[in-house]
């Protein structure tokens, strides 16, 4: 009778024996997650098969160690109820008593059928929410400016200068590199075309107008939006997570005065300077490439630049810098202050901030193009 040659009658996990004509399954070994490991599914299916015999005696006293995973394995094999004949140790009894009380898992929340409309509606309201938020914040900053005019000793000079250094001085290398390369590429592409028509000298006009009026400010603004905008948002977001913002509020120091205003003023000052720098380096790259490519003397290029490009273009470029800088800082602060204290929200807020400020920068460029369409352009004919 013992081990009637069927292969699954014995295994490290159980023994089939017959005691006084009663079929009995004796579980042995360690029913723990670590011990079961890869055997788990196999043991589970075998035990389920045995559990189908209703007259089987289950003897769990031979188990050396059993943890929750092991208990659940046996419990599921039994079909979530105790078998009719069971011998068990008291500590195992406690484990199964827990299992009898386990709550079923709640169903995950199902999506509403109307979800496309709901999402769209939520997006719409969110957009207005952000717009109103940004307008409110800028109003607050404006009030702070009036307050500071009356109380000039409270101007946060240290913060402004720190922001100038971080957003201006530290951005010089990256803007120079990108500007120089763009200048070279632009000059290389257009000088060849002009050379075919013998119009080599016009390269100075093309480079001057496009870089000083458009490309320089836009390159600088997009780079700064990615670089400084994201860091401002993340900084404010982490201050929210660590409750530093709340600490400031409790001390009666308004966020807009101490955190937002210095960033807006700092970037408002730094940005036109970065624009000037980027345009200068890009022009340098362009003139250098023209010299090497079509042999246009760099001294000639430099001396003819003032005639080719009216100085109004430089002012327009720098004006764009001021506006873009302030808008980037404003948007970055707006998104930073709205971050909720969890990691998900931090990432989302930073992404939204950068995407929104780059979009805003391009909008501003378009608005400038329309407003100043009659300024600084020499119309032929």
């Amino acid at each position: 009778m013992l081990s009637s040659n069927r292969s699954d009658d014995t295994s490290p996990w159980y023994q089939m024996i017959v005691e006084e004509n009663v079929p009995c399954i004796k579980l042995t070994g360690s029913y723990t997650l670590a011990a079961l490991d890869q055997e788990l599914r196999k043991v589970s299916t075998r035990l389920t098969r045995f559990a189908a015999q209703s007259d089987l005696h289950w003897d769990l006293t031979g188990i050396q160690q059993m943890d929750h995973a092991g208990a659940i394995l046996i419990w599921r094999a039994w079909g979530m109820h105790r078998p009719a004949y069971l011998s068990i140790r008291p500590e195992q009894e406690r484990l199964f008593a827990h299992l009898e009380k386990v709550h079923p898992a709640p169903k995950p929340v199902r999506r509403d059928i109307l979800w496309p409309i709901l999402t769209l509606g939520r997006r719409y309201f969110l957009f207005w929410d952000h717009l109103i938020g940004i307008i409110t914040l800028s109003g607050q900053v404006l009030l702070n400016v009036f307050y500071l005019i009356k109380h000039p000793n409270q101007i946060p000079l240290r913060e402004i200068s720190a922001n100038l250094f971080r957003t201006g001085a530290q951005a010089l290398s990256i803007t120079a590199l990108v500007g120089f390369l763009i200048g070279i590429v632009l000059s290389y592409l257009s000088s060849e075309q002009l050379h075919t028509y013998g119009a080599d000298v016009f390269i100075v006009n093309i480079l001057g107008m496009s870089i000083i009026r458009e490309l320089g400010p836009m390159l600088a603004a997009i780079l700064v939006a990615g670089r400084s905008g994201s860091s401002m948002t993340a900084q404010l977001g982490v201050m929210r997570v660590t409750e530093e913002l709340d600490a400031l509020t409790v001390m009666g120091i308004p966020h807009s005065l101490r955190l937002v205003l210095p960033k807006i003023i700092g970037l408002g000052i730094a940005m036109p300077l970065v624009v000037l720098w980027t345009s200068a380096i890009a022009m340098l790259g362009g003139i250098l490439a023209a010299d090497l490519q079509i042999g246009l003397n760099y001294q000639y290029s430099l001396s003819s630049l003032p005639d080719a490009v009216p100085v109004a273009n430089l002012w327009i470029g720098m004006g764009k810098g001021v506006v873009c800088g302030m808008v980037i800082a404003l948007i970055a602060c707006h998104f930073g202050l709205r971050i909720k204290p969890n990691t998900e929200s931090l990432g989302e807020g930073t992404t939204n901030s950068v995407v929104t400020s780059i979009t805003a920068v391009i909008f501003i460029d378009a608005i400038f193009a329309i407003i100043f369409s009659n300024v600084g352009l020499k119309i032929a004919g």
């Binding site: 997650l33 670590a34 943890d67 929750h68 995973a69 394995l73 500590e91 827990h98 998900e344």
Partner: protein, 260 residues
Amino acid sequence: MSNNDPIIEIEGLYTRFGSHVIHENISLSVYRGEILALVGGSGSGKTTLLRQMLGLETPAQGSVKILGHSRYDCGLELSRSLRNRSGVLFQQGALFSALNVYDNIALPLRELHCLPEEMIRDLVMLKLGMVEVAAEHANKMPAELSGGMIKRVALARALALDPELLFLDEPTAGLDPALSESFVKLIQTLRQELTLTIIMVTHDLDTLAAISTRVAVLADQRLVASGKLADIIKIDHPFIKDFFLGERGRNALRNALTLP
């Protein structure tokens, strides 16, 4: 396995941060089934020692052995299995904020890649029941939970793999007295049901007196004493006197030691 097998063995451990010495020649063994409480003043390096046992930091000198294997130079496989055999409750809970309560607890189970999803579901709900978190909270995100709830969910996650070894970093800090009490009860029940060895860092004398079977005291960069609470308080050392025999300490100890 015999009870005399140390489950954690620290030998001749030195820690330095720059020129600042935190630990000097610390040797400590933890045996199976013990609840060891690490105490010490702030800055005495309790949490650092705990992190070294977890393998999150490496000491300047000395060895840490967990379950008979060195913590620092074991292979990837072994290191993974050691980690699966120990659970950690961090002070702030350290729940993954991108996952809901259910998925937080299910994560270590899913990472084993050998459990069917129905079993994971039962295990998660069992653990949640054990730490007395109602089933309807399973779909909540960590940001929506209160501090006490975060602690309990984090404990459920630490227990997800039925570890032999449980590390608790300030388990009752930030809990109200009633919650601390139920936390202590919970740990006691768990110990009866599972063979658990617990190492905890705590400042809470009530918890310490209620559940620890042994106390190790860190002061002056050294392990100044280790033994049963009743023996520790007889030692004549300024830190021990301040810590245990101040007014608050005496109150807590009176409750724990005179009443059996």
